[in-house]
Amino acid sequence: MVSIPVRPIVSSLVRHKAGVFILACQVALTLAIVANVIFIITQRVALILQPSGIDEANIIIVDNHWVGPLTLEEAHARTDADLAALRSLPGVVDAYADYSIPIAGPWANLTGLSLEPEQKSPTSLADPYFADEHATAAYGLRLIKGRNFQTSEVVMGSTDEVPKVGSIIITEDLSRRLFPAGEALGKTVFMSNHPRTIVGIVADVKVPEKGTSNYAYKAVFLPVRLADVAGDPYIVRTQPGAAEQVRKSLTDILYKTSRLRILDRQDGVQHFRTLRTKAFATDRGLVILLTAASIILLLATAAGIIGITTLWVDGRRRALGMRRALGARRRDILAYILAENFFIVLLGICCGSIIALTANISLMHYLALKSLPPTYITLTSLFVLVLGQCAALPPARRAARVPPAEAMRIVPS
């Protein structure tokens, strides 16, 4: 059994004011920064890892633009020709054209869904995909309930005039928001005051915006073939493993179908994964940067603890030897030094928690932060405490090795 002599520790710490202050200060600052940084990292990692809900590995996106001017009918006809060519390719499962793509954007087009006509504020916001009967297969979406669109349901439209179609397919997340208690399938909801019937519910798919807002998975599929006269991106899904081969051949095939298009020969056709990586480039970069900074900070603090504790140990060799001579065991000395470190780090943690919260609140607006949950401080504190003990261990061992004979020596080594 090792008893921790609290009073002698406190009085010895009071004697070493400067060292204690420096160590506690360093621990406090480290805790304040690392807790906030881990909070930011967690959010960004959640953003980077958010599932898109689509068959990512096998999807290729074609960034096609038409050489204008085209009428809407011409744009539809050309898009149809392209899609037919794409679907007939070996290795291609299905393809369709839309205005925007999950996570990769570029456009968001939030609309309100209401349960009643003329409802003052919508029951839920949702982001529409302008789909046809090929959309679910082209994204590889799992239909949970109901049915896919039928060919006869799909109408032609443009961004300027979205036809008021009767049926929609919604994501599971949206169905839960609209009908928390009951069955969503077959129900009628209102979009821009027009009634629409929910004919199908698909597994959650991400909206074009990359954020993690509360409408991140509230997507609604409309049976509208939306041709932009300037051209829309094509979503092409391939057989597993065929994606790279299909991607390489697509540019030439499309240029053979028609030369009156703008399709970058380098970056015009890309894997969805590439677009996804690009969309999160900044977030990933920030995570790397902040992780590196945290590791350096923690290492610096550990080094500081080792340095100063070693100094203290060396300065007290005589006293330590005397304690050993008076009957203290090695483990008593070890426990003593570790306990000393524990109190210092604890002091640092107390100050650090306050600094962490203050920094979070005062920089919240400037850095676009969210408020720091106490859990992050608690967990980081525990980690810093363990780190402090580990860092104090080598000097503590050195202290424990001081022989009792040291008490007799006059010359300080």
Binding site: I33, D160, L286, L289, L367
Partner: protein, 431 residues
Amino acid sequence: MFSYYVGLGIRSLLNQRLITIWMILLIALGVAGTVSTFSLLRAVSSNAFAAKAHRLFTPQIDNHGPDYVKTYGIDPVLTLRDVEALRARDSAHLQAAIYQISLSLVPIDTTIDALEANGYAVTLDYFQMLDVPFRFGSAWSKAADKDGSNEVVIGSELNQKVFRGANSVGQEIRLDGHTYRIAGVLAPWNPLPRFYAYYRNAFDRHAPQLFLPFRQALNLRIPTAGGSYGESFPIWDMRSEISFISYWVELPDSAAAARYRNYLHAYADEQRADGRFQWPANVALRDQEDWLNYQHVVPPEARISFVVALGLLVVCAVNTIGLLLARFMRRSSDIGVRRALGGSRSAILFQYLTEAAVIGLAGGLLGAVLTVCFVSSLGLVFPVDVARLAHATLPTLLQAPIIAVCMVLLAAAYPILRACRIEPGWQLKSS
């Protein structure tokens, strides 16, 4: 005498190699992180239009009602009908109505693929308001501005691509099937942030290459290539409630801005009286600097990394205090002996100051090298558009050793004070 201190300092640094290397490395990292993230932050915070920041204003009008505003906020752009109304009534100031366009250009040389010409449909005042530099020719005429004409202004890159850099004024180009005559060619020009590009990246490295008369673009019903807000008639319809036009006015002083704000409020109120708005007038007028903040043009990532780097530097400083204290106190017997042999306090002071300065300088120089590495690899962390703005210029690199030396000297103050206080007698007595 000084060289003696340097020699002593270096010898003692070499004696405790591991701690010294660690200290220098940490200082270098802290300084390099701070300097490089600061150079990035300064680059994205700089404003090419700073001279006019408090004279350029953009109005906002709530044309969708309180429910919409509660969910999405007030639109950052205006509808065609509001822009036309504001332009018609208030002709005294420079007014630029701007919307983004993207047209296909088919070069006469058929071996070249069609390409996309990106730019803006603008009113004539745009060129004067933003001091746009012309290489050849000039902007279109006042008449063209009023009624629209097939005159265009192209950027230098497009001129390079299509006309190989020659004076192309008067030449024709085909965009989206229409023939246009080139009225002017710009000199290379891409001032950032592009504050009027409300949806696209404000730091777009590709300069706009095409400018069409605003009126002509609407006559030809050219759609916007930027964002638009709301559902209504097509954008070129005067009844449309779709906002898509970035509208800027130049006002000479704050009194004029106050007048304009009142006028804007009166306009929205009038629209309410006419039955168009069923809600009280809700308008805003922001100057260019306010606007950049309001639109969060400075990426939060740039700020976060700078603040964290600065925090790292502070921890480095505290750490340096601790390590120097440990190092100097460990040698307290040396100091005692030196003092006993007649070394003065100032001799001790100078030796340790030199030692600290050497550490700071070494850390700072290594920091400068690291800054070059960090700045050149910012592209791995930030989007190219943003990362390319930071440069490791000589003044930036000089910051590293200056900050490092100052920091270490400051951090060394307390440890040195302690070292100087060591009495010769005490140390001798115990031996």
